[in-house]
């Protein structure tokens, strides 16, 4: 018998959208929480329209990336433009411990499901808001996408080739990160609620979540007034060399090598067969290697480029050197390490097709985590509206017909 999951008694109303909302939901769901996405056919979640689709059949219930993003979440439909739907949403929240959302700061209030309205019907509700730059402050209304939000945190100014312009991270890194952080916010507030009986309105500013990552450069600015720029793959504090990504044989194949200690440098020397250039005084100690890092990287690249990345990583590891292949998307599926860990698994969607999504992205020794692909639209309407909320069949049908439950 599988043991109960830790969050089995926690129910969540997930008003979230985009990519952050679903990840917040899936994180709590992986650990056992009952998480309901609230969505509507009146404005189909854009994630549902993104190709590719299962078996190539375009349909809002078949978008592959949508099923990975919304894994673990269930779904009910409410057309929140309508007052009756807003009323049903408030009633639904009385059955929940937590509500989550990542709209702009005023949207929940406009929909009459803001914190005060929810608290009126469920006094100890935990509402987790996860807007771009928090619930208050001059930038609270800033318009961004997840991909560009990092521009206002300082992080983007550090990404790029040394001496060059900032290079964009071409995907919304703050979204999945913020989803995990938002889940953490819900759990913090539940701890507080269980001890004191009080709920609260948690404010997660995505900007402040990302700014934590900029701490190494922030501290240098705060202490020395220095403003860092793009730094390639170098050590963020410049205390290690070599520290970079080097070419290997094959198409677009690379290896990462990071040498932090003199002992590791000895290991690298051994692996290279102690070539004369590497024994020169300008590479003798860490400080020397850091001072001559460009020349060092050039020499090292000339050596790595003839090797297969996996083979070379194994060889360097034997010498105690931190080295690993630079994976591409195919490696995530095929590399023996990811396969052994079951990082991605094939699941059967309840509509009958097979698809591959990530499993529990943290492995748990006790809990047997269930992996469920994202929901079809409104798949849990019957359960929630008729059973949980006890809406009589006749009224339920009327609400569906009136496009309230829609």
């Amino acid at each position: 018998m599988a043991e109960a999951l830790p969050l089995e008694q926690v129910r969540v109303a997930n008003f979230g959208w985009s990519w952050l909302g679903p990840v917040a939901g899936q994180t709590l769901a992986f650990m056992g929480a009952e998480v309901y996405k609230i969505e509507s056919r009146a404005r189909i979640d854009i994630n549902r329209t993104i190709p590719p689709f299962a078996e190539g059949i375009a349909d809002p219930d078949r978008s592959l990336q949508n099923h990975a993003a919304w894994a673990g979440n269930r779904s009910i439909t409410l057309n929140l433009k309508k007052p009756e739907a807003q009323e049903l949403a408030r009633q639904f929240v009385t059955h929940c411990d937590v509500a989550m959302e990542n709209f702009g700061p005023s949207v929940m209030d406009k929909l009459n499901i803001g914190y005060e309205k929810l608290r009126a019907v469920k006094p100890d509700i935990v509402l987790v808001s996860m807007p771009a730059a928090g619930l208050h402050g001059p930038l609270k209304g800033v318009r961004t996408y997840g991909m560009s939000l990092s521009s206002i945190t300082g992080l983007d100014s550090l990404t790029g080739y040394t001496g060059g312009p900032p290079i964009p991270m071409e995907m919304a890194f703050p979204d999945p990160m913020g989803g995990m952080t938002g889940a953490m916010g819900a759990l913090l507030a539940l701890n507080y609620r269980d001890r004191t009986g009080k709920g609260q309105h948690v404010d997660y500013s995505q900007q402040e979540g990302v700014m934590q990552l900029v701490a190494p450069a922030f501290m240098d600015y705060a202490m020395n007034g220095r403003v860092a720029g793009p730094m390639s793959n170098r050590h963020p504090l410049g205390v290690a060399a070599p520290h970079g990504v080097f070419p290997c044989s094959g198409n677009d194949r690379w290896i990462s090598i990071a040498v932090v200690t003199d002992e590791e440098w000895e290991g690298l020397l051994g692996a290279m067969g102690r070539p004369e250039w590497a024994r020169a005084p300008e590479f003798a100690k860490t400080a020397d290697r850091v001072a001559n890092i460009d020349a060092l990287h050039e020499r090292l690249a000339a050596w790595t480029q003839g090797f297969d990345d996996h083979e070379l990583a194994g060889r360097l590891q034997e010498q105690g050197v931190a080295a690993a292949p630079v994976a591409d998307v195919a490696d995530l599926m095929n590399d023996p390490h990811y396969r052994a860990r079951g990082t991605f698994i094939e699941v059967t969607h309840h509509l009958g097709f097979k698809e591959t999504i990530h499993g529990a992205y943290v492995k748990t020794s006790r809990s047997e985590v269930e992996v469920r692909p994202g929901p079809t639209i409104g798949q849990d309407n019957d359960h929630v509206f008729k059973e949980m909320m006890q809406i009589p069949e006749k009224r339920f049908r009327q609400l569906v017909e009136d496009q309230v439950i829609y």
Partner: protein
């Protein structure tokens, strides 16, 4: 007395660098009592990484160490010595959480693997954060943030010019990302211990968390079904949606939907070239990316990043300034939210550091005390808490156990 979300939760940290210390700092931000266990001679490696004021290295004056270790107590202890291990087990017997980022092999050598710890404390949640995880062929590989990041495919898929080296963010982003995952799952495991039937080990691989969530979500369904995948440089750009140079730096220009494009046209002062109905369609703009990006750049180069951001935002176009670290830190928004905290450190003086990532109005968290000196709390912990005599302490010191 504080009234914090995690009052009463006890955390032992046996780790160094970024991942485990950041995870434990998040617990400490919200009121957990965190005891950091450091090696008697060297201490946490970030003590040697800096940055240091005036670039003068000193193990008690590292800025990164400070930012990752506020609110914590520090004791020194060598877990490789039998007496050290015994003491650690006593501390773990009364703890709720162990956060560690040693290699699985190292933990086995110390006799501190989960099976051994769960005998001492069945309710303990052990959070193990490593580059590659506790299982799989690379479990005992050595790895730093750079190796973990690039093994996730994040750089190969999303960052860098095609044909040139894939890029890391310019910080320890795999370790920070993994630490957020570790904290969320760790909190869940502790919160539901009674329901779940006890504690457990959480195996957090920084490369796997990033590879699964950040890269896998968009790419794996497609690769598994259709057998093809993309690499960096595949972003449709002409929207626009990329970074442009401007008069004093860079801006992230973003206009995808028709209304956003209209806003950008308005912000640019409705130039003739942009008044083409066809261009309201994003795909048309992507087709004509060279023309459109060239024209937009002519405009951005004449304005500052803040002017561009203000003009665009006022017109419902979601473009933003690429702030330098200084601009982000000194921004009026950051000041209004009191995100920067200032703490007094016995050797560093006043230090500015970042506040907590999440605000809980009923139980505000955040850094309250500066990062500890190496072994600052030895007397407290060994003497007062564990009741050791002065003579016992002397002997442990002489034997370099603590």
């Amino acid at each position: 007395m504080h009234d914090d979300a995690l009052d009463g939760i006890r955390v032992i940290e046996l780790g160094e660098g970024v991942s485990a210390p950041f995870c434990a700092r998040l617990f400490s931000d919200y009121g957990a009592e965190v005891l950091k266990v450091e090696h008697p001679q060297s201490g946490d490696v970030t003590r040697r990484w800096g940055p240091f004021r005036g670039d003068r290295p000193h193990p008690e004056k590292s800025g990164l160490f400070f930012s990752l270790n506020t609110n914590k107590s520090s004791i020194t202890l060598d877990p490789g010595r039998p007496e050290g291990r015994e003491i650690l087990l006593k501390l773990l017997a009364r703890a709720d959480i162990l956060v560690e980022n040693n290699s699985p092999q190292q933990m086995r050598e110390w006799g501190l693997e989960y099976a051994a710890l769960s005998e001492v404390n069945p309710d303990l949640v052990m959070i193990s954060i490593t580059p590659f995880g506790q299982t799989g062929p690379y479990a005992d590989w050595k790895g730093y943030d750079l190796n973990a990041f690039h093994f996730s495919a994040a750089g190969h898929r999303y960052c860098g010019r095609p044909g040139e080296a894939p890029l890391e963010h310019g910080t320890f982003s795999a370790e920070y990302f993994g630490a957020y995952a570790a904290t969320a799952w760790g909190l869940a495991a502790v919160y539901g211990r009674k329901i779940a039937g006890g504690g457990q080990q959480l195996d957090v691989s920084c490369s796997e968390v990033l590879g699964a969530l950040f890269v896998g979500t968009e790419n794996i369904g497609r690769y598994a079904q259709d057998g093809d995948f993309s690499s960096r440089g595949a972003m449709m750009s002409g929207g626009p949606s990329t970074i442009f140079p401007c008069k004093d730096g860079h801006v992230w220009m973003m206009a995808l939907e028709p209304g956003q494009w209209d806003g950008l046209v308005e912000a640019m002062g409705k130039p003739d070239w942009a008044m083409v109905e066809l261009f309201r369609d994003r795909l048309e703009r992507v087709q004509n990316a060279d023309l459109i990006e060239g024209k937009i750049m002519e405009w951005t180069l004449q304005h500052t990043k803040q002017e561009i951001m203000d003009l665009c935002q006022a017109n419902a176009c979601p473009s933003t300034a690429v702030y330098t670290v200084a601009e982000a830190l000194e921004h009026p928004h950051v000041a209004a939210r009191e995100f920067i905290v200032e703490l007094e450190h016995p050797l560093m003086g006043r230090v500015r550091s970042l506040g907590p990532p999440i605000r809980l109005p009923e139980s505000p968290g955040g850094p309250r005390t500066p990062a500890p000196l190496l072994g600052q709390h030895n007397e407290n912990v060994y003497g007062t808490l564990l009741g050791m005599s002065d003579a016992e302490l002397q002997k442990l010191r002489a034997d370099e156990v603590i």
